[in-house]
Subunit: 321 residues, 2 copies
């Protein structure tokens, strides 16, 4: 998306909500006394692991597929993904009878790969670099005429992800703060749009792994710059912030808190023990950010989007401890 | 409770619902496409692991404590429990500023013991037999004047547990079948009462571990008889069916399906993977019963109460596999 392209607005989040309503699930909002006590705050969790495909990604993917013209739909869609977006696009495409190609980098988790394959998407393996992923996608586009649905730097995807925040605000009005994980920034930019139109008094906090903190740097420095290779257990948050995502977050404002992986894994375990919910490290990072900054959240009403739960229950990261 | 004592009726479930409403949580009802596909049926799950204390047991305990006279409340309550009821009664007592004694058999799981202690209950250890538990309780009653709140053979507890079914029926009307685990029969008898008044066309199916199948025998033979020592991974379902529980189930009718532990553990893993929800083996037995009898449930609308989630995430039963 060129930097001159128009950015999605709040109305496009509302349009997305109407478009995906026949297909997406209104996920539950959960809470637990023990987690409130641990945080010294009032926490509500949007359980997107219970969304179709096991992650919020279905929202953006479904909106993007529903936006295709008949001619575009006939040629299919293509994307690259370490897992959740690929599974989500595969499912959204299947529901709309559209062919879906997914380019998967080597090293993606087995649980996520299995989900992509389950949706009937055509899998293509590539090297685990963004350059290899994009080049492979371009080749498939050229060969098939398929429409690229980028995992996060796509206005239809951003608008779709914003619907998770709309639903959370409807279930838990009056939030002081909303905390969401940030990787490529699809969920984060969508959240910013949703808050701007529905709850402008709610502060947006982005939780980012310390080992993949490009968003913190970009918002601090006012520009996206290549950083060190990501090094984090949060496999869903290794992507660099997308261009439209950056512009939306810069325009609407967001604070970034960086989180150590050890804190993320402790939060993941706490969520299983206290909310009884299995979430990915890439989700737990948001609670970890809250627990690591008690003064920032003390006494506040805090919404947290638990983005997904696609983790192998037989390989929990503390099982070896 | 003597066998001539009047049994609780449907109205007492409604009374309990009003009595516990200020304290208990209306737990969410969840579903997952993959589980519907696995069962060939439409499944909805009442997630009682998200109840206060991590199990449905808070409902009955809270109703029992709320029923105490001021004089009774001043002397406290006492119970014996392998965990969830003890934690639930401790919490209900704390909310009503009542002293709570819990007799805990040796061998109770560490995760459950920690929950009991957390509620501020006074812990008393005893040998892991029902005789030792009851004798120890009687000693505490004699010394303190505390009121016994039996974990399941108590009409106030039975009525309270029935509220879980009331809520599930409200969220998912028109169920063909309701499946709940059975141990002592508090939840099962409460479910039977709730169905009798609210949805008499819904069949009640009880899921029971094959290694603790006294309820199946009792309903088949028309009498409760001592059987072999329970041998099951379902630590919450080792108790024998209570006397009033038996009479209610016999009067209102229920079918029992027995389940092998291996099937229960497979269902537990499936629930974590597909519903993202950590549940106890004593909960997973209900889904296992459905999956083991596909012809019985094919195409039906099935409600399942997932009774609790108090299991140590670091000691999941398949981690060693």
């Amino acid at each position: 998306m060129p930097s001159s392209a128009p950015l999605p607005q709040f109305d496009e989040v509302l349009d997305a909500a109407a478009r995906i309503a026949p297909h997406a699930r209104v996920t539950p909002v959960l809470r637990a006394d023990a987690l409130d006590a641990a945080a010294g705050a009032s926490l509500v969790f949007k359980a997107e692991g219970l969304q179709h495909g096991g992650a919020f990604k279905f929202r953006g993917a479904c909106n993007a597929v529903a936006c295709l013209s008949a001619a575009e739909a006939a040629n299919g869609v293509v994307t690259h993904s370490s897992g959740n977006h690929g599974a989500a696009l595969g499912l959204a495409a299947r529901l709309h009878s559209v062919t879906c190609h997914v380019v998967v980098p080597e090293g993606a988790t087995a649980a996520k790969l299995a989900l992509v394959a389950e949706q009937g998407a055509v899998l293509h393996r590539c090297a685990p670099t963004m350059a290899a992923r994009e080049e492979h996608c371009a080749r498939i586009q050229a060969a098939t005429g398929a429409t690229l649905v980028h995992p996060y730097a796509d206005p239809r995807v951003i608008a779709g992800q914003g619907t998770a925040t709309l639903e959370l605000l409807a279930a838990a009005p009056g939030l002081d703060v909303l905390v969401v994980p940030v990787g490529g920034g699809g969920l984060a930019a969508g959240a910013a749009l949703a808050l701007s139109g529905r709850s402008p008094g709610t502060a947006l906090v982005l939780a980012e792994p310390a080992g993949a903190a490009d968003t913190a740097r970009a918002l601090r420095d006012g520009r996206r710059e290549p950083g060190p290779a990501p090094d984090t257990v949060c496999d869903g948050l290794r992507a660099d912030l997308g261009e439209p995502n950056f512009r939306i977050l810069q325009a609407l404002g967001a604070e970034v808190l960086t989180v150590d992986d050890a804190d993320t894994l402790a939060a993941m375990r706490l969520l299983v023990a206290r909310l009884k919910l299995l979430v990915e490290p890439s989700s737990a990072v948001a609670l970890a950010a809250v627990l690591a900054h008690p003064a920032r959240f003390a006494g506040r009403r805090v919404g947290i989007v638990l983005t997904g739960g696609n983790v192998d229950p037989a390989a929990l990261p503390w099982a070896a401890a």
